[in-house]
Point group: C2
Chain length 275, copies 2
């Protein structure tokens, strides 16, 4: 692991935050996460743009100019000596004297080995359960995953791979991924409201119009359960087919043709960017 | 400050958590907080009971038996050499290898100087604004205060002291305090659903029946705005009068007679416990 805190690189054993930090005291922090391929960052500009936007929305200031932060990140990746890495950018509410007020933000960057979803997982697809919940401030990539982690024993018991949040019958997103469906008329649909603007989501929305019509709109859970195809998008999992929703089989219960084509397009784009 | 982590007391400069800790990675942790008076813990049994209950509800295990934890806390208070202290018990999701799965919980205890609300603040009372929001898993004392901290600039702009959460017109609680009202028929009311079981709230509910009738039930924001008296309860602020709600003056705009009597009763109880 390679770690950078505020203004310097740290040894692994020093990769700590003071207990006065507002992430520890009050769960107040934002982050972002990108992958490297052949030691080159994937979609770095998009991730930096979102990281700075999250900071503004949370009332936290990043001292570094984006160019400076980018240079630090490239040095961090080099120091890690990793080819395929996950890089986490984190900005916390700082070392708060009273444990509640926002102080000077702590910037924490770390670079670790990462595993992406493999071909077997793609072929098998995943099973999801929907759950009534709406994330707070969904447009901000904050560290608030309390509900997602709290739900893990429930998912395990139900033998589901992922939880999909819904609110009043309308699906929004997974805790760490966006949701897409292919309707029976071959339109690609994804929710636009109350979701995080995923970077893989953005890329799929840019790629898909070449092969199908695309609409961003509310999707009901019933609509999703009756979709021709469903998949999720995320940085570590790219596109991953969903083959069951609330126990109902989607399409033929295997990755659908549009999901396969979009996945192939995404892999091509990834290769173009960092290949 | 005196600090204890898992199995040992730490020096101030070592009071840190590894960045893999799930509080830093995902805001996943619980805590509790009590005061000492003359170096003696106030309502310690109640706080310990709630701390263990929060741990169970969050799926986290506390290694120590309550008696053992109590002994460590007493040693911590002694080491701090503080008479009036705030003691924070925290239990996190642990050092998570993948930054998402719950690991062996980290237990973090700290003892710092604390200030309670003074007589001038009591006499002046506070102004509150209501805001549409419901905390996740409200019965658990978790570190999720994202919304409360995010709202601070808004409160400052509106010159309000505190935000009061409401959901569909029904008030629940403050981010760090419970709410009470005295109705025009002299009944003491406080919400019972979707709130944290505050320890000061519990004490007030035990004391009040000597002087008035008490009902735990839903309270609408309109009812609250038209109350004879409103006050909050919290560990650091004991009972604190609310003199304005959403710009509407409560009663005579000063601490009401029942609030004063309950406050006096509470101070007596506090003295009995630790005097």
């Amino acid at each position: 692991m390679a770690v950078f805190l505020n203004d310097r690189f740290l040894d692994d054993q020093d990769a700590q935050l003071p207990i006065a930090d507002l992430s520890i005291q009050r769960g107040y922090a934002i982050f972002d996460f990108f992958r490297t391929v052949h030691a080159r960052p994937l979609f770095l500009e998009d991730h930096l743009e979102r990281f700075y936007a999250s900071a503004v929305a949370m009332g936290l200031a990043i001292k570094q100019h984006p160019d400076e932060l980018q240079a630090i990140l490239l040095e961090l990746i080099e120091k890690s000596a990793l080819q395929e890495a996950g890089v986490r950018l984190m900005l916390t509410g700082g070392n708060s004297p009273d444990g509640f007020s926002v102080a000077d933000a702590n910037l924490l960057l770390s670079c670790k080995p990462v595993q992406t979803a493999d071909a077997a997982t793609f072929s098998r697809g995943i099973q999801v359960l929907s759950y009534e919940y709406q994330r707070d401030l969904p447009h901000i990539k904050s560290i608030n995953y309390q509900m997602a982690i709290w739900l893990q024993p429930f998912l395990k018991e139900k033998k589901a791979d992922e939880v999909l949040y819904q609110q009043n019958g309308v699906v929004t997103e997974f805790p760490r991924a966006n949701v897409f469906m292919v309707a029976k008329d071959n339109t690609l649909l994804t929710p636009a409201k109350a979701v995080l603007a995923g970077i893989t989501r953005k890329k799929v929305l840019a790629l898909a119009p070449k092969i199908m019509s695309v609409t961003e709109r509310d999707i009901s859970i019933t609509e999703l359960e009756n979709a021709a195809e469903v998949f999720l998008t995320s940085t570590t999992r790219r596109l991953l087919p969903v083959v069951r929703v609330n126990g109902k089989t989607i399409g033929a219960g295997e990755p659908g043709p549009f999901t396969r084509r979009l996945y192939a397009q995404f892999l091509t784009l990834e290769k173009e960017m960092v290949g």
